[in-house]
Symmetry: C2
Subunit: 416 residues, 2 copies
Amino acid sequence: MRQLAGTNLPKVGSYNQNVVLDAIRSLGATSRVELAERTGLTAQTISVIVRRLLTDGLVREDGARPSAGPSGGGKPRTTLRVEPTAGYAVGIQFDPGLIAAMLVDLAGSVVAEVRREIHESVRPEEAVALMGKAVRKVVREARIPAKRLLGVGLACPGPIDQELGLVLYPPRLAGWEQVPLASLLAESTGIQVTIDNDATAAAIGERWSGVARNVGNFGYIYMGTGIGGGLFLTNQVYRGPFRNAAEIGHITVAPGGPQCYCGNRGCLEAVACPAAMVADAHKLLADGGAGALAEAYARDPALVDHDALCAAAIRGDALARTVVDRVAGYLADVSVSVANMLDVELIVLGGPALGPVGEIYRDAVAEALASRPIARRVHQVSVSLSPAGCDAGAIGAASLVFHRSYAPLLTTLLSP
Amino acid sequence: MRQLAGTNLPKVGSYNQNVVLDAIRSLGATSRVELAERTGLTAQTISVIVRRLLTDGLVREDGARPSAGPSGGGKPRTTLRVEPTAGYAVGIQFDPGLIAAMLVDLAGSVVAEVRREIHESVRPEEAVALMGKAVRKVVREARIPAKRLLGVGLACPGPIDQELGLVLYPPRLAGWEQVPLASLLAESTGIQVTIDNDATAAAIGERWSGVARNVGNFGYIYMGTGIGGGLFLTNQVYRGPFRNAAEIGHITVAPGGPQCYCGNRGCLEAVACPAAMVADAHKLLADGGAGALAEAYARDPALVDHDALCAAAIRGDALARTVVDRVAGYLADVSVSVANMLDVELIVLGGPALGPVGEIYRDAVAEALASRPIARRVHQVSVSLSPAGCDAGAIGAASLVFHRSYAPLLTTLLSP
């Protein structure tokens, strides 16, 4: 949208309803009075909207709690919460090595899950069949009413066309180009499918039910096979005009450094993804580096993989720790640049490749954010590890469905 | 605003009016039919809003042009344009060495200007007196009706508190701390004053009447004594939740490089501001570097300043060109990172320190943006030099007033 759009009156109602639901979700438990204060809407508007949310079963009223008035008396306030069982979504994390499907309730809790290892040679039709089976399995296990299933969310690595539901050209999946994965899966399951890249999905999941549920501006660094990113700015997911924003993995951290597949040099991904870490360790070992990994390396270099490397770093092996600390330093540099550029409140680290060394990364980023951003005296930027761990992609995928249905998107307020 | 706000109906009208005015401004000349298409508003709404804009004198109707219908016939369309004389603002660029004041019309043209060199030891009350005098002088020279003067905009270097109108702690101005410059100047002139940092002001100026008038997402790199930045994202100026965003000068471009005053190391500003370039040249000359600058350096190192360095680079001196090319490389790296992070359509380079070497910088950035961003096959990111040149700060300052009065800010749509 090059031209800023105007707004037509009928759009205001559903936007305000989602604003109120979003406030109830992020506050956990709240009252009508607090909702009016927080959203700037009138008491009457809040009252009408809450009645509709109660009727629709999206919100429940939890008895009464005493008013916080100075007299201790006054009219008791009832507490409003999101009703977790009001709706469910299946989130699928699709990775060249794994399909993970999770049934998640409206509060972000995982109700049922299934994992299937797959091979990189998997064909689109096989993958769709496996996903469809996984969806049916988690829905059956959870025994939820069919009409409560709001949809399926699909998180994929690499560039995708979110609007058309296409997987464009995923790294490591030969013969997958412009596969209409969302519509194939929708046809196979009869359920609406929302697709996004794994990093954006993970960021939306963190906002919906994770550490960022109350945070309007944050950056998410997703460590998978590659390094992706997600951005929430001014309470909205920021995708950019061509839907390619938040490529935090392709910020230059080592100028003139190794060539990245993207066309740039010295990108964060090129020096800090698992494959780069393993190459780094192999180089140190080939140059005669000693320590816990030397013997395995001598036997078979393939034994020194990302898992072995992280495990050795945790056990205190100096060589492994050197490699991990280098990555921690890059993450710290990138986090300071994101803070200086976007004035975010929070950096979230997540994704399967954090492995057991996530806390090392977090500590390095925390130290950098405490001492280096230009606005650190105005406000501190915090850093959190995603509590979703390896499941960040699948939980994020489910939250794509909730986000589509219930997030107060400013774009919905604008015409047409 | 941590909590997303709802919207109340009365706010919709003025927002839509500003959307329409913004569309007329950015399109240059347009019709009611085109406005309806571009904004998604109904023909009736457009008709009502345009009538109000015509009555208020903000827009003028330029006779008729034939309809673009295939028959060549049809009802003739009248052309709508912003009326440049409908309103004026005085923009003041305040720098430790200079006060520049410009009276600018609603279309962004400079009608009158005055410049006064000042010394770094200037006290706040002296500066305010000089600014007040400058405002009165340009208004008198331009002979505009007093009621057409919409306000004064003030662009200052360094961190400011935009809401309180405070200059916080400007570099190089000893004894200036938390000076309420906006209210002092408003008292002295009797005119409303809007303050912002020079880089943000320059970005808003570029959006109002410069190369970015039709661009919804762009980054501005402002080269002054330091290096500042401005961001427009999704058609809105992006300041961040604590109003410290867009510090593009403090993105790390030389990891482990020189200490920056901000607390970080190897910031763009630390290696690419005029003082850093001069230090770089001095080092090369002290190490025996030859060329056009060697003689002057031997006579008095102070003769090799930023102006002399840039002039020598333009004349083809190899040592000077090395220094300039190094900066061009840093600007290229930063521009690629901004593109990958925010998916912007355009990078603008502006500010007084571009000097005569702006085109060298632009060419390096253009080459990098053509070959390195990850989404370059989806869309090209372009780069432009600000046509405002050295006046970017003052013209930007004037546009702060127009932006405050007429920009369609989504925040105005939200409560309270």
